[in-house]
């Protein structure tokens, strides 16, 4: 069964460093998302991406964040200068293009630890 994959599973970085989190969505899906979950808190939407551009972003997704789909398979989230409060699990998700209400398929997550 196809699944969303994410690498790395755990990333440790120093404050101020740049990190790139990578995701391979399910092929033939058209909508891509990043969410994050701070330990013990709810899953929060960051950004949605469709047709090679951002379709919506949250207040969390400020100028330090960017997303890219550099080829037909990868979907990346870059944090330019990490802060302590960026420590969280980051989930990538994808959705087929059939319906607005369709289920989203989540990856296993990348645990980002900023020291």
């Amino acid at each position: 069964e196809p699944e969303v994959t994410q690498t790395p599973s755990h990333q440790v970085t120093q404050m101020g460093q740049e990190v790139i989190l990578r995701c391979v969505p399910i092929s033939n899906h058209l909508y891509f998302y990043w969410y994050r979950q701070i330990l013990g808190q709810k899953v929060e939407f960051l950004v949605s991406f469709y047709n090679n551009e951002i379709s919506e972003k949250s207040e969390i997704f400020d100028d330090q964040f960017s997303v890219e789909r550099p080829d037909g398979s990868n979907f990346t989230l870059k944090i330019r200068s990490t802060k302590l409060e960026d420590s969280a699990m980051y989930f990538c998700a994808s959705k087929p293009g059939t319906s607005g209400a369709g289920e989203q398929f989540f990856g296993p997550g990348t645990r980002l630890t900023v020291l």
């Binding site: 969303v4 909508y31 998302y33 969410y35 808190q41 709810k42 899953v43 929060e44 939407f45 949605s48 469709y50 379709s55 919506e56 949250s58 699990m89 989930f91 998700a93 959705k95 293009g97 319906s99 607005g100 209400a101 369709g102 289920e103 989203q104 398929f105 989540f106 990856g107 296993p108 997550g109 645990r111």
Partner: protein, 113 residues
């Protein structure tokens, strides 16, 4: 501001009983509501979707109801099993195709023998 509350942080029930989880929301008019399961350290896994014009949906031992007047969804697991132990998240989605999900804080269900 939008608020989504799930009835309790934790719910403990005995194997074989029915678990009922609640999701209440305010300041939101969702087009649909979804329920996800999340195991520790893992990503959410989709369980059920119900649209604003539907009252009830079922899938095997799962049932979800949606009352847009009360702004509430109930999620039931019948004949619960220890393997059902997990955190259950409700998520609301707006009209439109890109459809970001807004999640509740989750309810941690523990099913004991």
């Amino acid at each position: 501001s939008q608020k989504i509350e799930q009835n309790s942080e934790a719910l403990n029930i005995q194997e074989g009983k029915t678990a009922t989880l609640t999701c209440n929301y305010t300041n939101y008019s969702p087009a649909y509501l979804q329920w996800y399961r999340q195991d520790p350290g893992r990503g959410p896994v989709f369980l059920l979707l119900i649209r604003e014009n539907e009252k009830e949906k079922r899938k095997e031992r799962l049932k979800v109801t949606f009352d847009t007047t009360l702004k509430q969804s109930l999620f039931h697991i019948t004949a619960s099993q220890p393997a059902d132990s997990a955190t259950y998240l409700c998520a609301l989605g707006p009209p439109g195709t890109a459809s970001k999900l807004t999640f509740g804080t989750g309810t941690r269900l523990q099913v004991t023998l």
